[in-house]
């Protein structure tokens, strides 16, 4: 899932200090699961903002809503009638949702309340670890199911580098060396031949904004309202 982290309160206060009527918009999908921007977190932020602004003699009128998803038009449409009542929107969705919200209401300033932090696994409640950079060229089939782009601090395709350190990365004793792990796993599977070949320079697929159109589908002439 996409994981995010709530922005520091002072930053949110500063971003929104000039607005008197603000709608906080949560997202009920990824950011709700990772405890950053779901219904509960919207309520917490609302309480904090309300009090923070009151203490600064700058009271604010707040509304709160949590949509099922902010990356889908059908859910954003639920705000069509009410968004105009506010002079700013604060989104607690990931960067994708924040932008889609801002695109839906181009005349209203939209502010992020979270920092989006990547595609991660759920290790435990409140504990998430990045696993994919969505590079668009998956090599997991050759690397034992361990992503060198994400899990190697240098994103090397022909590792491990000389900085591998007793199974860990040179950057930290808490960070396993991805290539050491790749080696161990492939060795155990008898598949070291997968990494004996040179991996050539990548044709990066993530350097321009990407559009995905599945086979058999077409873009409509004009995006649906």
């Amino acid at each position: 899932m996409i994981v995010a982290k709530r922005k520091p309160f002072d930053e949110i206060m500063d971003l929104t200090k000039d607005y008197k009527k603000i709608l906080l918009v949560g997202c009920g999908t990824c950011v709700a699961v990772c405890l950053a921007g779901g219904e509960k977190e919207v309520a917490v932020l609302a309480a904090e903002l309300e009090m923070g602004r009151r203490l600064k003699d700058n009271p604010v009128e707040l509304g709160s809503v949590t949509l099922e998803r902010q990356c889908d038009r059908e859910y954003l449409a639920q705000l069509d009638k009410t968004a105009g009542d506010y002079d700013a929107l604060v989104s607690m969705a990931c960067g994708v949702g924040i932008q889609f919200l801002a695109e839906r209401f181009p005349n209203i300033p939209v502010f992020p309340a979270v920092d989006t932090c990547g595609l991660a696994v759920n290790q435990d409640v409140g504990w998430y670890e990045e696993r994919c950079r969505s590079c668009g060229r998956c090599v997991l089939g050759l690397t034992g199911g361990i992503c060198p782009v994400t899990m190697c601090a240098k994103g090397l395709y022909n590792g491990p580098c000389g900085g591998t350190n007793k199974g860990n990365c040179e950057i930290s004793a808490d960070q396993p060396c991805a290539w050491n792990a790749i080696y161990d796993r492939l060795k155990a599977q008898g598949r070291l031949d997968c990494i004996l070949e040179l991996s050539l320079a990548q044709e990066w697929k993530d350097t321009t904004p990407r559009t995905l159109l599945q086979p058999g589908y077409k873009k409509p002439e004009k995006a649906k309202a």
Binding site: A153, K154, N158, G162
Partner: protein
């Protein structure tokens, strides 16, 4: 001849090569480079110029290389993948060749986290293995990485590093083989302190026929003090400092530790000279350039062969 560099000629003639290293200054003083370089002149076959080593900003490697050429010393231009994308790298390779640089060492580069700009974005557009292949393609096929034609091939003797001690140990020789396959001409290894392990590594490289395809220069860094040895053992990733080295330095008075460090290095060099598969020694006397003349002399490396 692939490049016509002095280092290539020395190695091809079958001499036991001896290379040095110089870290450029953290400022614009050319004299600092010249001062350090003077200690190395005529004592080594080529001098590695580090490229923002340990991810700390320094005078550009290519610029310091030019200062060495002006002093009549052959440089070995180090290039890391951390700070440039493939366009900048290829541009620098062309410029380096145009200005007379004939050796390059292709490296991944330490992570930015270790340096003076820890939050900088590491580029790593290509890795060191892919860099080797790119330089070779430019030199031998006259083609950029894109496949477009290079009008005027760069003449570069292609080097790379190898760390025989990092884990997994049994994979290291295979990674060396990948660098050979990518097209490397010479290798300079990580600093060697664990001689038994290095012997085993070279033995494997000999068995795989790698030492017939690539010149391996064994990396030597004399310990300046017990403190340095302890630091390298504990703190430097991929470094293998056996307890015997620590014990030996502990066994002498503090003011004799640097001499003991040099003695250890000289013993290693004496053994490396006789080791099948080792084509030379790369002396990394870190911020100790002024001791190189003495070490070169005592190691029996002087005079260096004069090549034409």
């Amino acid at each position: 001849m692939k490049s016509g560099s002095n280092l290539e000629k020395v190695l091809q003639a079958g001499h036991f090569a001896f290379t040095g290293e110089l870290g450029p200054p953290r400022g614009a003083h050319a004299d600092e480079v010249r001062k350090k370089a003077a200690h190395l002149k005529d004592r080594v076959d080529s001098v590695n110029i580090t490229d923002n080593q340990t991810a700390v900003v320094r005078m550009a490697s290519w610029a310091a290389c030019l200062l060495l050429i002006q002093e009549g010393i052959e440089p070995n231009y180090q290039m890391v993948c951390r700070d440039r994308n493939r366009l900048a790298m290829q541009a620098d390779i062309l410029g380096a060749s145009a200005l007379g640089i004939r050796n390059m060492l292709c490296l991944s580069g330490d992570h930015c986290q270790f340096g003076d700009h820890p939050t900088a974005k590491g580029v790593f557009d290509i890795d060191s293995m892919q860099l080797i292949g790119m330089v070779k393609q430019m030199r031998d096929e006259g083609k950029f990485l894109s496949g477009a034609e290079v009008d005027g091939k760069p003449q570069i003797f292609i080097g790379a590093a190898s760390n025989p001690f990092a884990d997994p140990f049994e994979w290291r020789v295979h990674r060396l083989a990948k660098k050979v396959k990518a097209g490397v001409d010479f290798i300079q290894t990580q600093c060697i302190y664990n001689m038994p392990k290095f012997r085993e590594f070279i033995h494997q490289a000999n068995d795989m026929g790698l030492t017939e395809k690539v010149y391996i220069l064994a990396g030597i860094t004399p310990m300046k003090s017990l403190g340095m040895a302890k630091y390298m053992k504990a703190k430097v990733p991929g470094m293998d400092v056996p307890d015997e080295i620590i014990t030996r330095l502990q066994g002498v008075a503090r003011d004799k530790q640097s001499e003991e460090g040099i003695k250890i290095a000289l013993e290693q060099i004496a053994e490396l000279k006789e080791m099948k598969g080792v084509a030379g020694v790369h002396l990394m006397a870190i911020e100790w350039e002024h001791r190189v003349p003495e070490i070169a002399e005592r190691a029996g490396m002087l005079p260096r062969p004069a090549m034409n």
